[in-house]
Symmetry: C2
């Protein structure tokens, strides 16, 4: 068996920046490195071409009656700039203390290496392991996974499985693993308000007609109530309540509101009544303004009335909200609130991402949960408790991971999201690193989990 730390170093050396057209060699190198590792532990490896960066599809078959787990990962990384803020070169991995530094070390090269190593060790120890395993490793995660949905639609027959297993979510402390059991959905659009057909002088024409920024801010201001809720009729109608165990589980994280407030740097929180800030960002939907623009934004002044102004708006959605229905509710409310003396446009920015619930083995476990997944959750509880010292917490996250929703929708599969990266790992930022102790514990726990899934 290979040394996972040495192989991770080699892996990091490939600058596999999917957003950078000049990084094709790095992409190819990282892809072949992963493919080589999987071949070395006995997998049949196929490089599936896409419009942009090929997907590594590797399979270890066996008796069709064996359980089948799909392990997801990605071999592409974020750009490394600003380079001057790195203490070592981003693509020359360096171990300092318990950490390995380098772009992609935590997102997602280290965590993927955890599972490749765990599978390799498990198969070395137990060559007849009754488990079918498919690795599905894409190269476009950092650019929004445009090829992923067509891929799983095309390969859906080969992706019939019991569940998907991955490590691409975070934890708060190295001794407390979190299994993400819910993700918020997403609905995005632009609102554009237009008044005059061109920019006009605010002295010569100001006061005769409504300024588009005025109209836009009036509409935007109508979208929240003073206590922080979304002010759209029907917006909360489908929202499922929070299970008591979820609040309990969250409280076990032991996060300090004051520390979080300082981390954000805000004077005070503004969560709706009855929800702590930690609860609000996991359990409640939102309507956020991601951007706003119009008129003169430079230094000094320009006494212009702009022709138009726009806002970029997104809603995070929770169970049981439907992105299409929410879009219609929001659009209808805005249509009713736009004053008659301006024109406006609502521009869909995305078809929408559904929320995800991965039903853990808890009180709200649905009847139709896969028995193999249920076994995996029990294995995760036990293995993680023994290796990390604490059983995992099952928490919903505020973010949205479109591929998890796509996997559920197209393949019908739930995902076990085994969190492995820490806040201090600096994902998407200079000096990204991965904790080698977490890595070694992750390998042990993952080996045990997969073994238990296969053999009970």
């Amino acid at each position: 068996m290979f040394d996972p730390v040495e192989k991770l170093k080699e892996y990091i050396r490939f600058p596999s920046i999917s957003a950078d057209p000049s990084a094709k060699e790095g992409m190819r190198g990282a892809r072949e490195h992963v493919a080589g590792l999987l071949k070395s532990i006995g997998f049949d490896v196929e490089i599936v071409p896409t419009k942009l960066h090929p997907i590594v599809l590797a399979h270890r078959g066996g008796d069709p009656k064996w359980p089948h787990v799909i392990i997801y990962g990605h071999y592409d990384v974020q750009p490394a700039d600003p380079l001057n803020l790195w203490h070592s070169k981003p693509f020359e991995p360096e171990i300092r203390g318990d950490r390995i530094y380098g772009r992609g070390s935590a997102d997602n090269k280290g965590p993927l290496m955890v599972h490749i190593t765990a599978v390799g060790r498990l198969l070395e120890r137990d060559p007849k392991l009754p488990l079918r395993i498919t690795f599905m490793i894409e190269g476009e995660e950092e650019t929004g996974s445009p090829s992923f949905l067509p891929f799983i639609e095309k390969y859906r027959d080969r992706l019939k499985a019991d569940f998907v297993y991955l490590s691409d979510t975070g934890i708060q402390r190295p001794d407390q693993v979190v299994i993400t059991c819910g993700l918020r959905g997403l609905m995005l659009f632009d609102l554009v308000v237009t008044t005059a057909k061109s920019d006009v002088h605010s002295g010569l024409h100001g006061g005769a007609f409504r300024n588009p920024i005025q109209a836009l801010t009036e509409i935007c201001a109508s979208l929240h109530t003073p206590d922080g809720k979304v002010n759209i009729p029907g917006f909360y109608d489908d929202v499922l309540g929070v299970e008591p165990w979820e609040r309990t589980e969250l409280s076990k994280l032991g996060q300090s509101e004051e520390e979080y407030r300082k981390f954000l740097g805000v004077p005070a929180f503004h969560a709706p009544p009855g929800y702590s800030p930690f609860e609000a960002l996991r359990f409640l939907p939102t309507l956020e303004f991601n951007g706003i623009g119009g008129g003169y934004q430079g230094e000094g002044t320009k006494t212009v009335i702009p022709s138009k102004a726009f806002a970029k708006i997104s809603c995070r959605l929770v169970p049981n909200q439907n992105p299409k229905k929410i879009r219609e509710l929001v659009y209808n409310a805005i249509r009713q609130r736009v004053p008659k003396d301006v024109t406006f446009e609502l521009i869909d920015q995305h078809e929408g991402v559904p929320y995800v619930v991965v039903p853990p083995d808890r009180s709200n476990t649905p009847k139709d949960q896969s028995p193999v997944l249920a076994r995996a959750f029990r294995a995760a509880d036990k293995s993680i408790a023994s290796v990390f010292g604490n059983p995992p917490l099952y928490l919903r996250e505020g973010g949205s991971v479109p591929i998890i929703a796509d996997i559920k929708r197209v393949l019908g599969l739930d995902s076990l999201l085994f969190g492995l990266f820490l806040p201090e790992d600096n994902l998407h930022a200079p000096n990204e690193s991965f904790d080698l102790t977490v890595m070694q514990k992750g390998i042990q726990a993952s080996e045990q989990i997969l073994s238990t899934v296969a053999r009970g």
Copy 2:
């Protein structure tokens, strides 16, 4: 005497773009051209250096008891781009039909030529004219006149006069001169709202604290009432009512609301109750949003909660509003309306421009009006009626001309603003032109006005 059209052609040939550092030769040429013309009609000419572009100060003295009129103009012009939209070269004047085309033809080279020619003809006809005349011609008007205030402060003793006379305002029809008898003041500031200390992920943190764009739009939306008034306590307290003659005078312009609506391209007007759009933009103060910005403004989406958002805001002010007092009222209202969970900053963008009222010889003429100015208004009524076929209309304008306010404040002088350019003259735009018939009539009327001011 020179031929004014030929001299205007020569004048236009100098590309005197004050904003363009490479146009120094054009600036010098235009300045010397004007200085030469004034010398040729008997003026003592001084070129007064400033930090940027010198001011031409020319004087025709006489008995200190004679009335003294200062004629203002500027020899600089706007940049000519986009060049591809011009039908003839901007600095190669061309006469087509009744118009002379070229950058600066209407703003302000043609109108200034009107008055230089009128003075020249008058002095040729009446060499002993009992009138002191000072031309004060700056070269920074198109860049905000930064040297003008220091100049009039330094030269205030030499600028003791009865009134200031200029043509740098507009008219609507060639047969209907407008004398601008009021300009709105101006107060400008930026409002910046900050929440988190850096941009954060809208999924991981959305819902816990108030988005700065939300806070900004809520504050901005509070600044107007639904019927289009400014919603700041005390904002209208000092506003003087409109005199009945002002509404009558405005109605004589005969503008069509429907044509104005089409010109702007707005679905409907939004003037406060009791005011037509034409009245609102002259007689009422405003609070306008000149710009707004924050977060992601590019193509597509970025699910970010920005750290900050800003609005650039300006108020147009009418008699008797004080910019300093209005600034305090607006700032106080905003301070009270900013939610406690965000931080904010109010940034003064200008010391403020006071409104201007040039008291015409009408019912609201103040007791302290200069008898020489009163005589000038009567002369303007009579001369303009005889030359243009209609007496001038005395109208307030919605814009602000800081130099007029500075002249009033520093020198204590009112200005007679004899409008000469038409909407179709395309000021600040490609194919700027000046109507030669208006020019010739302007010369006749101006000669009569100045003659009457001197001799009654």
